[in-house]
């Protein structure tokens, strides 16, 4: 089938303002959007810049806006979009460096602010594993899946209007540790998330959950953090 691929272009060394380039491409409906971009860069215009690595949805490099919503370019096939008009734009809310590449700096700073690492230096005396029941392990399974692609945070209306908001991805990564029965740092993380740019900025628009390529129930995770802050109880 023939598709029209409209790509957001911004070359900082040449362009004053962004433009859209249109490529007409003959392709298979089962091709990934990433394949189309690779084709453009390899065979049509080498200057098109975008990130990608694993090409099957586990590394999180190629999150972008495809036909208006956040997706991984490697996880969406042409036929999934149901149209031959495809528009590809960079993530919203982060500074565009070049074409589809955005500055991930603020995103990573928010991630780091919630202490996204295991805290418990009290290693079991026998040197073996901390014991954890399958139920306790299941409690935070969903939020361990995050690949930090930023699709959630950059789909969030609260983040668009104020990038000081810690954002869904950071809360997801805090959730992963707050609910880990082995971890001892929950209070410190909750302290951060209880601030004015913490969980209370979540307006439950659900864009994050809809955008997550790993199908993490993000809004639910945020609500669970709110619940802990309200009740003071970690189940």
């Amino acid at each position: 089938m023939e598709i029209r691929l409209r790509v957001f272009r911004f070359q900082p060394e040449k362009d004053q303002r962004p433009r859209y380039d249109v490529y007409t491409i003959e392709t298979d409906p089962t091709e990934r959007i990433l394949d189309l971009l690779e084709h453009v860069r390899g065979d049509i215009d080498g200057s098109l810049a975008f990130r990608r690595s694993c090409a099957h949805g586990v590394c999180g490099s190629d999150a972008m806006r495809i036909n208006g919503h956040n997706l991984l370019a490697c996880k969406v096939l042409v036929k999934d979009l149901g149209t031959s008009e495809i528009t590809v734009e960079p993530l919203l809310g982060l500074r565009v460096i070049k074409d589809l590449i955005v500055d991930m700096g603020p995103f990573l700073e928010h991630y780091k602010s919630v202490m996204p690492y295991f805290i418990n230096d009290d290693i079991p005396a026998d040197g073996k594993e901390f014991l954890q029941s399958p139920e306790q392990r299941a409690r935070f399974d969903d939020t361990t899946k995050c690949i930090m692609c930023a699709a959630c945070t950059t789909s969030c209306p609260s983040f668009w209007s104020n990038t000081e908001y810690v954002g869904p991805a950071a809360i997801v990564n805090a959730h992963r540790f707050i609910f880990d029965s082995r971890d001892t740092g929950a209070e410190k993380r909750l302290e951060v998330l209880n601030e004015q740019f913490g969980v209370w900025r979540c307006r439950t628009a659900f864009n994050c959950t809809e955008a997550c390529p790993r199908e993490i129930k993000i809004t639910q995770a945020i609500a669970e953090v709110k619940q802990v802050l309200t009740s003071g109880k970690l189940e």
Partner: protein, 139 residues
Amino acid sequence: MSTLKTTLTGYTGYRGREGHYAFLLHRITGLGTVLFLVIHIIDIALVYLSPKGFLDVIALYQTTLFGIGEIALVFCVFFHGINGLRIAYFDMLKPANWSIETERKSTRITLIATLILWLPATFFMARNILIHNYGLFGG
């Protein structure tokens, strides 16, 4: 202000699902309601501060244009209330029930419930306008 541009691009251009539009509508209906509320407090206060002014305002409210505004206000209040309950229910009481399916479904139910309340109200308010402003229905 580039974040303002980003925000408006996102609000209007991002292809979210039900939750995105529920968020926008919640905001718009909330701001609409609070705007009317401020005006309403002042106009009612006129009964004490300036009863003459009160009568002028009431006359203004009775025009068709304000009548339509009133119908919109009723929509705002119903939607904002029901949607607020929906959010509070999941957000405070049952986070575990909050999946993509329940989000989409609950938003649709919210809209339907709003319409169920609003449409009959609209009927009566429109009828009032037609009776009093246009002399219909034997007014």
